[in-house]
């Protein structure tokens, strides 16, 4: 949220639509500046941009999509390509991207790629972009090295793990730092035998989160027991976390906490722990990653690290709008700030949902 939002001013005639001039007056800037912000021109000062967007929100101003389309030859639609909607993280993120697009008069269509490499490649290289001005893309099947080699066409913003040499703008999370925060929280609450669920040999986000897990243990002087690091090839399914938890219990290795590399797998692990009569957090503490909506509703409510979803959605749309507006500079990378939401699964306070 923007702290210094100007007070909402109702238009004199409630039936009269809010105009760009109303927004300009409320934000104390020129109409041209409002137009520049909404068109995504990059040379607007961030403070000014925030004031304008706050005024847009406060007054409920909506870009007239029809007029702007006629002027620009654009469609007013952006695409968000993601692997699977059934993964709670992407459902949540999609709703946030839609809300951000709406603020700027852009409609958002979702293109599920089903994590198929050829589809992801086609979306990124422009061979599969239907009637849209640009795309936000979250690659899942393509590894970081392959994404870096692609010739990305047209306005594109990439999500996913941070790349060394991104071929397009990136709005990313700090996978490694966020994982470190999650595990440090378990260590700080006295856990020492901390399992990790979600490792894969493919690298990317999994590799970074595993590195964060190892960082935190090393910083606390706790040796890594490789028996506690569990593969989970399909992050998108609760069953994957459940299967890993079953393997962990079957291995006989003692553990007092589980860090799952996403919430979906954590819900699977919670289910298995409950079935085996283990109490969370008394016997085993559990932490997830993503802070999806369901985290507040699970039994018990799940402590989870929020990688900065809202900021990622906002930044991704902002960067894309600037590219659509013609910004042609080098690829930019914005890293979101993360935050730990402590709930009952690690001994946090009871916070009733209603």
């Amino acid at each position: 949220m923007i702290a210094d939002a100007p007070p909402a001013r109702a238009a004199a005639d409630p039936a009269r639509p809010v105009t760009m001039a109303d927004v300009a007056a409320a934000a104390g800037v020129s109409v041209k500046t409002v137009s520049n912000v909404l068109a995504g021109h990059a040379h607007v000062r961030p403070g000014t941009r925030d004031r304008v967007l706050a005024a847009v929100d406060a007054l409920g101003y909506r870009v007239n999509p029809f007029a702007s389309r006629l002027r620009s030859g654009r469609t007013g639609v952006i695409a968000f390509a993601l692997p699977h909607l059934y993964q709670p993280y992407f459902g949540d993120l999609a709703e946030r991207v839609i809300a951000e697009g709406e603020r700027r008069g852009l409609a958002v269509v979702i293109e599920p790629t089903d994590a198929v490499a050829a589809v992801e490649r086609a979306v990124l290289t422009g061979g599969r972009r239907q009637q849209v001005d640009g795309a936000i893309v979250s690659p899942a099947a393509l590894g970081p090295a392959e994404v870096e080699r692609l010739r990305v066409e047209g306005p594109v913003v990439l999500l996913g793990p941070r790349l060394g040499a991104p071929p397009a703008d990136q709005a990313v999370m700090d996978d490694r730092g966020a994982a470190r925060t999650a595990v440090a929280h378990l260590l700080a609450t006295g856990r020492r035998r901390i399992a990790a669920i979600g490792a894969t040999p493919r690298g990317g986000s999994a590799g970074l989160r595993e590195a964060g897990y190892r960082d935190a243990l090393a910083a606390a002087g706790v040796p890594v027991d490789e028996a506690l690091v569990l593969d989970a090839p399909d992050w998108d399914r609760r069953s994957s976390g459940a299967a890993a938890a079953v393997r962990l219990l079957g291995s006989g290795a003692p553990f007092d906490a589980v860090f799952c590399f996403n919430d979906a797998m954590a819900f699977g692990a919670l289910r298995v722990l409950a079935s085996r009569g283990l109490r969370v957090p008394d016997d085993v503490a559990v932490v997830g990653f993503d802070d999806t909506e369901q985290a507040r509703f699970s039994t018990p409510p799940l402590t989870s690290v929020d990688p900065g979803q809202e900021q990622i959605a906002r930044t991704a749309v902002e960067l894309l709008v600037e590219r659509i507006g013609g910004y042609a500079g080098e690829p930019r990378v914005v890293v979101a700030e993360h935050r730990l939401a402590v709930r009952e699964s690690t001994g946090g306070p009871r916070t009733p949902v209603a």
């Binding site: 030859g73 469609t75 007013g76 639609v77 695409a79 699977h84 909607l85 059934y86 709670p88 459902g91 949540d92 999609a94 709703e95 839609i98 409609a107 958002v108 269509v109 979702i110 293109e111 599920p112 089903d114 599969r128 239907q130 009637q131 047209g154 399914r237 609760r238 069953s239 459940a242 819900f267 699977g268 919670l270 289910r271 409950a274 909506e293 369901q294 507040r296 509703f297 699970s298 039994t299 409510p301 009871r350 009733p352 949902v353 209603a354």
Partner: protein, 335 residues
């Protein structure tokens, strides 16, 4: 920089409006102008635009899928099922989130920006009066059986099974989350089915237990409604929610109040989503034949796109619905 319609217009020495009319295959354009526009389209590479490709092949290979809420597990799983079915037929799916808003649903039925061969819509806002709104081949999905093609779920028998199951396990004060006063809405349909089933089971229906939770059937709405109900002092021993998301919210609100599920309160959801299967306690839920609905919907839409005659009512037959019994009504160690 993409070639725009204006570029084509300049090259063909016609107005942009004329280009648009040619692209949209509207009548009453002189053959000469049409030829000039098509030549300019080819020359400038405007053909890369799906609208132009549509002009050449007649198809874009893309269908739109309108869904109310991507956060709700049932819709997310339905989207996945549609994607699988469409993928098999070589169709790309773009998901258009509508928020259940009538205007957005209408915009989709009118083809949105263009480039779509057809539309599948899980409609909450549009009604029978909008049946003619579709400007392109369209199939409605969901529980509304409207005129026109529809891939419908008939949940009535499963609602009846749920009530029978609850009565059989000793429940008498059954609440409903998702009662919706709008006639013809999924909530109204299901609530009507609930009334019939309750009467058949010999229960008096207490109107105060039929709760309208508003337009969005998500977890928070379920939690809020259950909290109001449980804090009202009205006796309640079971709760039938019209989506799993509502049920999961209600489950949390009940547990927060120190209630035991199912000993103090039995909970039934709908959608049989992964969330329901992995919940603690696992959630008894009405399976709605998600992949069948998706398969029927995509097949019906393909018929319409190809201009095949509509199939008889057999093709829109209700998908198999089934009550899946789990811990939230049976207790631990049974299911």
């Amino acid at each position: 920089m993409a070639v725009t319609m204006q570029d084509v217009a300049r090259r063909a020495a016609v107005s942009a409006k004329t280009v648009s009319r040619v692209v949209n295959d509207e009548p009453h354009i002189s053959p000469d102008k049409r030829a000039r526009v098509l030549a300019a389209i080819d020359e400038l590479g405007y053909r890369l635009n799906p609208a132009a490709r549509t002009l050449r092949t007649g198809r874009s290979g893309v269908i739109g899928l309108g869904l109310p809420d991507l956060r709700e597990p049932y819709y997310a799983e339905l989207a996945h099922a549609v994607l699988q079915q469409a993928g098999r037929r070589g169709l790309t799916v773009l998901v258009d989130p509508t928020g259940g808003d009538r205007d957005r649903e209408l915009a989709l039925l009118r083809g949105r920006g263009g480039g779509l061969d057809g539309v599948l819509l899980y409609a909450l806002g549009v009604g029978a009066q909008d049946a003619d709104a579709a400007a392109l081949p369209a199939v409605l999905l969901g529980e509304r059986v409207e005129p026109g093609a529809a891939a419908a779920v008939d949940a009535d028998p499963a609602v009846a099974a749920a009530v029978a199951h609850l009565v059989e396990t000793g429940r008498r004060r059954i609440a409903v989350l998702g009662a919706d006063p709008r006639p013809g809405s999924p909530g109204a349909r299901r609530t009507a089915a609930f009334r019939r089933a309750a009467r058949e089971a010999g229960l008096d229906v207490d109107e105060a237990l039929l709760v309208d939770v508003g337009p969005r059937w998500g977890r928070q709405a379920g939690a809020d409604a259950a909290a109001r109900l449980l804090d009202s002092g009205l006796p309640v021993d079971a709760l039938v929610a019209h989506t799993d998301a509502l049920a999961l919210g209600a489950l949390r609100a009940a547990l927060d109040r120190g209630l035991r599920v199912p000993e103090d309160l039995a909970v039934v959801g709908s959608g049989d989503t992964e969330d329901a299967r992995y919940a603690v306690p696992s959630l008894t839920s009405i399976a709605q034949g998600t992949s069948e609905v998706a398969g029927t919907a995509v097949a019906l839409l393909e018929d319409r796109i190809e201009g095949r005659p509509p199939r008889d009512d057999g093709a829109r037959a209700a998908a198999a619905v089934e009550l899946r019994l789990r811990e939230s009504t049976l207790g631990v160690g049974v299911a």
